[in-house]
Symmetry: C2
Subunit: 309 residues, 2 copies
Amino acid sequence: MAVTTVVALGGNGLVRAGERGTAAEQLANIREACEALEPVLAERELVITHGNGPQVGNELLRHERAAAEVPPLPLYVAVAQTQAEIGALIEAELRPATGRPVACLLTHVRVAEDDPAFENPTKPVGPFYSEEQARKLEGDRGWAIAADSGRGWRRLVPSPLPLQIVELDSIRTLVASGTIVIACGGGGIPVVARQGRLNGTDAVIDKDHASALLAAELGAERLIILTGVDAVARHFGTAEEERISELSTEEADALATELPAGSMQPKIQACLAYVRATGGEALITSPEALAKALKGRAGTRVTNGNGPR
Amino acid sequence: MAVTTVVALGGNGLVRAGERGTAAEQLANIREACEALEPVLAERELVITHGNGPQVGNELLRHERAAAEVPPLPLYVAVAQTQAEIGALIEAELRPATGRPVACLLTHVRVAEDDPAFENPTKPVGPFYSEEQARKLEGDRGWAIAADSGRGWRRLVPSPLPLQIVELDSIRTLVASGTIVIACGGGGIPVVARQGRLNGTDAVIDKDHASALLAAELGAERLIILTGVDAVARHFGTAEEERISELSTEEADALATELPAGSMQPKIQACLAYVRATGGEALITSPEALAKALKGRAGTRVTNGNGPR
């Protein structure tokens, strides 16, 4: 039976610590990621999503540094640009690795205009500025700004919850035809509905939440979130570190409140949302441990606690 | 009966003379273009392609101005970025205008590694440089460079002929499902086949030739190339100017050699290639004249001379 799988690649896995994000570096990293994906590449129905943190940071910096000569584009367009940048590189590796058709679909994700995140932008994006520069941008462009851990000032943008994958029908059509689809890059291009239109809005959507929504709307049997660690752990990085191999939705709920914000918390919440919506199985692991994790010997599995389906 | 139509929008129509290419300017221009497209928006099978000249120029400038801080990406990735930039803006207008699903597919186009264009780069792209800067880039990055009409020095890149639309199957699948597909932006991301892989290559593909190839491979009944003038003319801009409403393939062939290189010549050649491959009808006109042209009262039609099918 065809199992629809959604796999989310971390943006940080595509531009590693110490790298600058050249196309060659990204291609080499994507090649490794594709090798790690080998156990799922034969799935008839496969969607790959990805983050874009380092790439959108680089792109926003390009927009700013050329601003005196060519107009900076809005953040939502920069997100679109990174979908194409990363999608083109992933396609280049996935096509020869699988011999299957691969397509990257520009993906918009609808968020609520009254999402409380818009009242409270929390996500730093783009280059660092001096306080003076930042204050000027605050005035000129209406940006929210904040000092960032002593390294300067940055723009803050909202991170609203995803409500709808705009191109869902097209993704479904392509997946059903046996095409590996790359979608929802960087969490999707954020849009809000206004007078019958979907307008781009300057925000970033958590890519794990967008992937979970996509997996739920597709009715996928499996959501795999790949990250820098093999499994979720309690007391991470301490002597009491304890890897967790299995979580029921109740346990995941409790753990999400216990873990520090950021890092693992949104991944667990995204898995929870998906498992609750579908009864499917969510898996958090690293690319390196994926093969073992699929055999139940690594990773953290979130299920509805009713055992394997 | 369903008529498959491929419509090519000019990149210069999306960023007009005197404009800088802000998202707001592009959205306003795309809105006008979409209004002009009204007569074909009800076609069940519709593909929209577009140029990217001003946009890719802006993007390459962004890459260069930030080069000291973040790595410039290769030209083929910049082409991909403009597919997403323009695709996102077209989607925003087309969806409310049609109420139909619209999808932008990242499109790679294969060219021959031994295309003679690679021996003779002719297409200027990106920012202007001083001779000294240009010579340095020639040495550092292996660029071909040339003085450009007294305004400085520019990079020259090859413009090879398109051979294959890599994502053709996905485009066909989406079109058949009733989705309006945006594809082949900027002539497509150029790739060459090498050891079983398709590698991005730094070139630009003429968007009209890529659109003609796509129309032929889709078996489209109609190719429409929208540009800045209502029809092709002999002796354009002189007292003897004579608009041409109909061209057989033989007449088009003769005219293409008679016209100056650039401008209309590649559009007529693209129409010819499409008409010869399919027996379909190609139309060159402006967005403003499209409605009249579809009724045979404007524009230049290229057919195989056997009358309407």
